[in-house]
Amino acid sequence: MSIRFSFGGDEHIFAEVSEEMSLEAFFTSLSMTNAVKAAGIKGVTEICPANASFQVKFDPDRIKAGDLLKELQSMEGAASESDGTLQTRIMEVPVLYQDPWTHETLMRFRERHQNPNATDLEYAAEVNGLGGVEDFIKAHSSQPWFVSMVGFVAGLPFLYQMVERKRQLQVPKYLRPRTDTPKLTIGHGGCFSCIYSVRGAGGYQMFGVTPMPIYDPTQKVSYLQDEMCLFRPGDIVKWKPVTRDEYDAAIEAVDANRYEPVIRPSTFSLSAFNRDMAGTNAKLMEALNGR
């Protein structure tokens, strides 16, 4: 993989590791951004890893664009040899699929959708050749997902499904983006799922909501007092379908600020994952469930 560099105006260097998404591209991007961080290059003001690319913002009054580009290029060899091992976290995210709030919202924006006569989940099941909504939810929630990018809006995770490519769920984005998406909606576009951290515009299909806060600018939520944003690239997520009663109980706990997310430390090795996806995922589930 050879990285394609491009200047984004006079203050950014944009780097595309690969045109297509893969965990290999993600790990190269992460290694590169970690190397840039560790190098402490003067004049670098923002280092942003993404799914299969990354970006460095710099102050051209402190470092010349060409000099920074040379430094980045010199790191490329080491980064591409990254062994793809990560000390990370696995966390459970409860999801109320087919909830009333995303349903009300998707009904308001049917004219922007590929299939105005189906819900987003019905459409997603159909385009993935699955029998129906229940089968789709099972395919969506049975295997873990990898946080390959944080962004768009504050703390929003992009999640990449940890299964063979031919089994990965793919759903087109809305034809035209909505102007509204409920907070904490579980969305999906292309091969990525996401959790909308704030209410606002969005183009991803809407499958459900989680009661679990993932961004808190007031830093009052017990587990978001040190960091406003829960997710970091490399985190691993397991969706847990919940009933309306379980959702309501979780919301009550959130409101009383006694909600505790299930988060466990774990390691991830890309080479081990590529050798045995089912076995790697089973170990992750053991780490999550404490067995």
């Binding site: 200047f7 998404m21 768009f152 929003l156 292309g190 091969c191 007031t218 406003m228 944003c229």
Partner: protein, 324 residues
């Protein structure tokens, strides 16, 4: 010492020079869209150039002062009135306790910066007082101002109260704004003819123009170079695997209407970008009204850096003029 908000205007927010360092989490830099005008307003009232001010767009707020202070309004031509009497923009004026500042109708530009000596002293969040409304972060309670809000002022009243900035030292877009851009990023995705046409067209600012980004319409739909969609990108020729968006980057969803991301940018997404508006011209975008014409002008990196130096020289002239 406080500023009381009698009426809010259309969308008035507390802004300083911004909040760098959190873009990797999706938290944008925020801060004034026209930082040249923001710095000028602070200079006029004797503040640090990066003190927090109010940014008002299209329609001004009405404010009441609880103590004597020095005030300056810069940016667009939104005529200030003190207790109903006209005051000039780009000029410091004193206010007394109980005085009310209001505004007439916008003549040119889009945004004004209202600096008060001492600065707007809302809590610092992640290193800045700027408001990021989408993320409910910073500023006054993470949102645009509402009637009834009371904003604390910093202690120092500064040595302002005098001085004005003549028109020759200000910086505003021309009648057709010329936004210089460095092509790059995913420029290779469009045909050479489409690239040529992109610069030849005169665009108009669309109604969807805010702190996140400015949309432009009325130009030619882009022709893309054919390709097999890369895995994970999506099927539209304008789709890419979701990537970072630089500030000033010009994305063109569906190849139809370019959007230039600004200070409250979404940090990434799945649309190809043609390049970036250069740092020196980002201030100008903040002064564009919907329906106003604009052109994109191709420049090289050397030209972008020369324009950046010009903007810094213009700020140096302001400082010299005001004896700072």
């Amino acid at each position: 010492m406080a500023v009381n908000v009698i009426s809010s205007g259309l969308s008035t927010t507390v802004q300083d020079l911004g909040r760098p360092g959190y873009y990797h989490l999706g938290i944008p830099i925020s801060g004034g869209m026209d930082r040249f005008a923001l710095r000028a307003a602070n200079m006029l009232v004797g503040n640090d150039e990066g003190a927090a001010v109010l940014e008002a767009v299209f329609l001004g707020p009405e404010l009441e002062f609880t103590a004597p202070a020095t005030v300056a309004v810069t940016g667009g031509d939104l005529p200030p009135r003190l207790n109903g009497d006209g005051r000039s923009t780009w000029e410091a004026f004193p206010v007394k306790a109980g005085d009310r500042l209001s505004f007439g109708y916008l003549r040119t530009g889009a945004r004004v910066y209202i600096a008060v000596s001492g600065g707007i002293d809302v809590p610092v969040k992640l290193g800045s007082r700027s408001t990021y409304t989408l993320g409910a972060l910073g500023g006054h309670e993470g949102r645009a101002l509402k009637a009834g809000d009371s904003l604390p002022l910093g202690a120092g009243t500064g040595a302002g109260g005098k001085g004005a900035i003549p028109a020759g030292l200000r910086r505003m877009p021309g009648s057709t704004a010329e936004l210089r851009m460095l092509p790059g990023l995913y420029w290779h995705r469009i045909t050479a003819a489409a690239g040529k046409q992109f610069f030849a067209d005169t665009w108009k600012v669309a109604p969807e123009a805010d702190r996140i980004g400015y949309r432009f319409k009325g130009g030619t739909v882009l022709d893309f170079v054919p390709r097999e969609p890369p895995f994970g990108a999506g099927s539209n020729p304008s789709n890419i695997v979701d990537a970072c968006y630089p500030y000033g980057s010009i994305q063109v969803p569906g190849g139809t209407e370019p959007i230039v991301l600004h200070r409250d940018a979404v940090s990434g997404g799945g649309y190809m970008m043609l390049g970036c508006v250069i740092s020196a011209d980002m201030d100008l975008i903040g002064q564009l009204q919907p329906h106003s014409p604009a052109r994109f002008v191709e420049v090289s990196m050397d030209q972008a850096l020369a324009a950046r130096a010009d903007r810094q020289a213009a700020l140096a002239r302001l400082r010299a003029h005001l004896g700072r």
